[in-house]
């Protein structure tokens, strides 16, 4: 029940005469108030979808940055194949789409009173809240790796200055140097991302610094699109790139940023450039709002994305535990649309309909060489579950012209999804 309806009921007989007029006036202005925290692929996409479905809904998007730097394709920036400008988007078209962008940080959420407090002191009331904060890096999870260490050993897992820092370090490295990557256990943002990055760093080394080596220390034995990546690595980067899985002692237990060393159960590796992708959790506001569980991520309903921990609050994008769906930009944008549809239904007192969601993720292994994974999801036993017989990875035996076409489609996808999300 929305606060407005509750208020009307609470007014009782004394308010009976006045209520219809007040209610009608309110309805003409707004069909409900939705506040969204976070202007990424999930939050910004949800804001636009809400206005497209129901133009009378009042939508406020809380986002502290004027510019959004997108992660997909940022590995090309790392490898010197793309400018960071191509990753950057703003919120200038949002006002004309009827979305009120509030440039501030959300600092508190009162789920009972349905109110968000901003760093600037204002409070915003909502009928439905959408929490879409993306990830926070866990500075407490890998001994030796904290914010100061990240200045010497960049994570580059939130695109922006960190992306450029890793690129500059690669450019400054002498030919014959060793690049070491540390990859975390699941779940984390963009499951195939570390392997795309490894591929493109290998491409950079092969073409610019061919006597160099790339070592991937991995806390896992299996990863997304693995057979496609390993086949491409064997063909394109033999001897240059080495992947060390968990079972061969790949899990990094600690780092020393001053010495540029990474230590596993068996060895200590000295790096010339170290890219440490640390474990992650949902953005901090999720914990503050009480929607994150002990894993650090947010359990949600598979139809509405409403939190299983706090009614009236929905969680979408990387922060959510979305069953089989990966933490990808495509999935975040898709969840934004489905969540918007569910919210419109709920505000109108209608039963939300069972959704189908799609995820498609492209990875670029070298310029003009693209591979993909896709899946279709539906709620089953309370979880978003992959539909059997659909989806899967690009064929292992695909021709080079198909790899080229997939690289082209990856470019097209980026253009479309960023237009869809940011206007």
């Amino acid at each position: 029940m929305s606060p407005r309806t509750r208020r009307q009921l609470l007014q009782g007989s004394a308010g009976l005469l006045a209520t219809p007029l007040v209610a009608r006036t309110a309805a003409a202005q707004s069909a409900g108030r939705v506040v969204i925290i976070g202007g990424g692929f999930a939050g910004a996409g949800c804001a636009r979808a809400l206005r497209q479905i129901a133009p009378k809904i009042e939508v406020k998007l809380i986002e502290p940055s004027a510019t959004y730097t997108a992660c997909p394709f940022s590995n090309e920036v790392v490898a010197g194949l793309r400018d960071i400008d191509a990753q950057q988007f703003d919120y200038k078209t949002f006002r004309s789409a009827g979305i009120d962008v509030v440039r501030d940080n959300a600092t508190a959420v009162d789920a009972a009173a349905r109110r968000v407090t901003l760093a600037g002191g204002d409070t915003l009331s909502y009928d439905r809240l959408v929490v879409a904060p993306g990830i926070d890096l866990r500075w407490d999870a890998l001994p030796g790796y904290d914010e100061r260490a990240a200045v010497r050993m960049p994570h580059a897992w939130k695109a922006g200055e960190q992306t450029l820092l890793l690129r500059r370090q690669l450019e400054a490295m002498a030919d014959g140097g060793t690049v070491v990557m540390s990859v975390p256990a699941n779940p984390y943002r963009c499951p195939p991302g570390p392997y795309e990055r490894a591929s493109l760093i290998a491409y950079y080394l092969k073409t610019q610094k061919p006597r160099s080596k790339l070592l991937i220390l991995d806390a896992k034995d299996a990863f997304s699109k693995q057979r496609l990546f390993t086949a491409a690595w064997a063909a394109l980067y033999p001897k240059l790139l080495e992947w060390v899985p968990l079972s061969s002692g790949g899990k990094v237990n600690s780092v020393d940023a001053m010495k540029y060393t990474l230590t596993t159960d068996f060895d200590t590796y000295k790096a010339d450039v170290a890219n440490v992708i640390p474990p992650q959790r949902a953005g901090r506001i999720a914990e503050i709002a009480g929607v994150a569980d002990r894993t650090g991520w947010c359990p949600v309903d598979a139809v509405t994305f409403e939190s299983k921990l706090q009614p009236g609050i929905h969680v979408i994008g990387d922060a959510a535990i979305a069953g089989g769906m990966p933490k990808s930009a495509f999935a975040a944008n898709a969840q934004g649309k489905i969540c918007a549809d569910a919210i419109v239904h709920l505000l109108e007192g209608r039963e939300p309909t069972e959704p189908r969601l799609i995820n498609t993720c492209y990875s670029i292994v070298a310029p003009g060489y693209g591979i993909s994974i896709a899946a279709v999801y539906r709620p089953a036993n309370g979880q978003l579950t992959e539909i059997e017989g659909a989806g899967g990875i690009s064929p292992l035996n695909a021709s080079l012209s198909m790899r080229r076409l997939e690289a082209e489609y990856a470019d097209a996808w980026f253009k479309t999804i960023t237009t869809d999300t940011f206007g």
Binding site: Q52, A54, S372, A374, I387, A390, Y409
Partner: protein, 96 residues
């Protein structure tokens, strides 16, 4: 006076706006993750909004049956039953 007149116009416009768009069938809004909504954002992936519904259904069935060259659509089509494809195609045909 001019400002007041446009305020009245705005109010009338708001009153005549539909409260919401017709419900999209399951999966239909996912297409715009890759397919641009309008030609102005055209890419190598075609615009499918406003295409003839029967044509969309035929192409989807060709993808499903492996009778049409594909990169990813053959994998995605298999996640939708024929009646779901029909509903999505009808909805897409109405989008501008």
């Amino acid at each position: 006076m001019k400002g007041r007149a446009s305020l009245v116009t705005l109010a009338l416009l708001a009153a005549s706006m539909p409260a919401r768009a017709a419900d999209a069938p399951a999966g239909a809004t996912m297409c715009s993750g890759c397919h641009p909504r309008t030609g102005s954002a055209a890419t190598s992936i075609p615009v499918i909004n406003g295409r003839d519904a029967a044509e969309i259904v035929t192409i989807m069935e060709q993808f499903r049956g492996g009778k049409r060259p594909a990169t990813v659509m053959d994998r995605i089509t298999k996640g939708f039953a024929p009646d779901e494809v029909q509903a999505i195609a009808t909805w897409l045909a109405e989008q501008k």
